[in-house]
Amino acid sequence: MSPARKPTLVLVGHGMVGQRFLEQLADLGVTRTARVVVFGEEPRPAYDRVHLTSCFTGTTPEALSLVPDGFLATHGIETHTGDPVTALDREARTVTTASGLVVAYDTLVLATGSYAFVPPVPGRDADGCFVYRTIEDVRAIEERARTARAGVVVGGGLLGLEAAGALTGLGLTTHVVEFAPRLMAVQVDDGGGAALRRAVEGLGVVVHTGVGGQEITTDATGAVTGITLSDGSSVAAGLVVFSAGVRPRDALAREAGLPVGERGGIVVDAHCRTSDPAVYAIGECARAADGTVYGLVAPGYEMAATAAAAIAGAADGRPFTGADTSTKLKLLGVDVASFGDAHGRADGCLDVVYADSRAGIYRKLVVADDGTLLGGVLVGDAESYGLLRPLTGTVPPAAPEQLVLPAGLAPPTAIGPAALPDDAVICSCHNVSKGTIRAAVAEGGCASVAEVKGCTRAGTGCGSCVKVLGQLVNDELTAAGVAVDTGLCGCFAQTRQELYEIVRALRITTYRALLDGYGRAEARGGEGCEVCKPVAASVIASLAPSIGADGYVLDGEQAALQDTNDHFLANMQRNGSYSIVPRVPGGEITPEKLIVIGEVARDFGLYTKITGGQRIDLFGARVDQLPRIWARLVAAGFESGHAYGKALRTVKSCVGSTWCRFGVQDSVAMAIDLELRYRGLRSPHKLKSAVSGCARECAEAMSKDFGVIATAAGWNLYVGGNGGATPRHADLLAQDLSDTGLVQLIDRFLMFYVRTADRLERTSVWLERMGLDHVRDVVVDDSLGICADLEALMAAHVAGYRDEWAQTLGDPERLRRFVSFVNAPDTPDPTVTFTPERGQIRPDLTALAVPTAEATAR
């Protein structure tokens, strides 16, 4: 025994803030000088509560853990999980636990978090009522959801919507009941609440605002059957989740005579110390020096740092006097952000509002009369949150009328991160300012976003600042004269476009030759990487006939280059099963073929869905079933739809002049011709097209990479359209083309794109980069004199096309890869299982958890 007794520090509560506190203690060396004992009520060490909802989609409790392996042991921290502290004796300086342990402390830290408040509605304890706070809650809800069809969430705040998202994800019809007149009343104003409501309703959630829950109804066994509401209506449901706010867990402190706030929360000073100098409180159980009980994790982390510094006696401890409660969240897929004075409470402030109720977008900025930005609310489009939040308190360099416009409408002149002052906080999770980030690059020698993340922690919390972070790091590197490496990846210093030219000019037909001859010195002779392999495979495949390579994408070395989806000619799904999308050119299909699809789906038990691309997707095939399924499809005349490849997807069509009273050209025939012409073309990203029979545009051609719209005189060709996350309307490239003129121009356009685009650059982004006028000069007016070349390349592609599935089925060697296990070719993967839903199947994600047999085999 050492003569000087080590002081004992006891931490009550091992949640998110408790764990951060322990890490800070270890950093400050306190774990070496003191005995540290932790008591947690939950059965496991700290985990990431913020991402609790991901448990419903298969994330395991282990994966959510916040405690690095070996952390507790390395620092000699004694941990007691599942043993809550039940009493605190401040006179004797001891705590007593449920199991009867009594431990004496020199310093006590309370980090007991919150509990979910359950309003006193009759029936609230019935079987089927839950709260939403812990992993155990998730498990209980999941279990119950198996037998329920509908669920009710009481409370329409942040957590309520999070819970509603989880219930819809479990396949329940979900209702949200909110007493306030709008959703997320704390964060957003009426306008934002209305936009949010529309967006949430659009996802099928039924929203009841301005009503309270009156009573939980039950059946004879005491199980929940529904809820009656204060407006007299009732909702039938098999489960109810209460999410009506949280209350600080301050009972221990309260009973030990420590002061608590009027609405709860252990009262602490700016160093997180209670009125008893030996006792600290941090996180959601504490009422901070500014009188606020913070319900977010970032302020809790700040308190953890403050308390640890105070306990360590560190000179540079930062007092905690309040925190920014700005938040950006994705709830049910809808972006919601609020920052600063979101409700416009300051005197004489003005609101600048943009609202598009059809699109569910609402954006409001609050400005003082001198132009200072005070705060704002963004719903539906929170792209600019990362820039606007740090500008709070300053007069922004652009007018609020411009700043309030959503991403697509804002003039490019608006603002970039360059406009931010150095003290603007870029990452609010870890409180990192723009100045710190710039210094990390300029003085700290960080040369990439990853390195800046590593040394400042910026961007490693909620992730909402990463985009701005990337721009700042690049700006700073450029300013420092460091050439920003535009190379494709760690293996190649060239861009995709440069590699394409090398492959074409030198007729290189293997990845090995490309890597060893043209790769970065350190990469030559190596294995390459997952970025450049598929790019090389795609470039070689799109040039195959003209450089003398094999067009079949799976033989020899090519097999090792393709992404998994290309390798198995199908799309991998979340549980490792595959989906199959046969080509349906132009969306036209005979009844016989429909019947075959139906029969195949039925016989193999596949989930069947009509896609957004006018074809049919069959989900849930195991890898070993793919050849048998395709044998049936190929026999019926189907071929690969390349849903797995960076290649042509679909050419959608409308009915056109054959049937439609408005049609002026045969859009179906043209769509089929185009789809058959360009099928199988490997490209930098996927390619989509559509043909409409008249200007009414039922085929949505203007949202496609190349879209065709019929005119009385022929066809108009539009290019560079995009749906997806950043939609773009296509630009008119040429008008009133003949059939052959149209095809010739598309040939040129596509090959020019394939030749010059970056990896994963859709035509929309590429066109913006090249400029429409330049592309028109090259492909219409042949300003570079390459059009004959481009046409020849396309002609070679068309002549060389073979259906990949037919080629695969004909060759036993190629079929060998389609087994679940190399050493048990006839055994299906037992973890690929399904459960029923609406008369079909869905992946059973519980089968993906680590089974005990496997876990113990480690």
Partner: protein, 120 residues
């Protein structure tokens, strides 16, 4: 001239060598899955230089048994060591240690099994 068949084996946690398959069943630069005694699955790889590796087949980020179907690489991040990128969310795992290169926390690591070849 035909080369004699070579069997690829991996070392189980119980200390015994488990024969997986003939080396010829592997494509350089890709992997295959193998069923182990007790129900665990291994992802077994052959790289371009002829070296073999085995790690657990379960992707710790999604739970799906798919790592055998990822792409191999060696450049960037791992100091030239071989890795596989998960086909689902693209995290990379070091083939010799099982550590996830994009998230080195221990609960994201997978078991790595030593391998050897025997000629019969």
């Amino acid at each position: 001239m035909s080369t004699p068949p070579t069997t690829l084996e991996l070392l189980l946690p119980d200390g015994s060598w488990f024969p997986v398959c003939d080396l010829a069943a592997l494509t350089p630069g890709r992997g295959v899955a193998a069923l182990l005694p007790g129900g665990a699955q291994a992802a077994v790889f052959l790289d371009g230089r002829g070296a073999t590796y085995a790690i657990d087949n379960r992707d710790p980020f999604t739970g799906a048994r798919v790592l055998a179907r990822g792409l191999l690489g060696s450049t960037g991040g791992s100091g030239g060591g071989p890795f596989v990128a998960s086909p689902l969310l693209k995290q990379r795992f070091d083939l010799t240690t099982g550590v996830c290169l994009d998230d080195p926390s221990p609960d994201r690591a997978v078991t790595a099994y030593p391998t050897r070849r025997t000629t019969n």
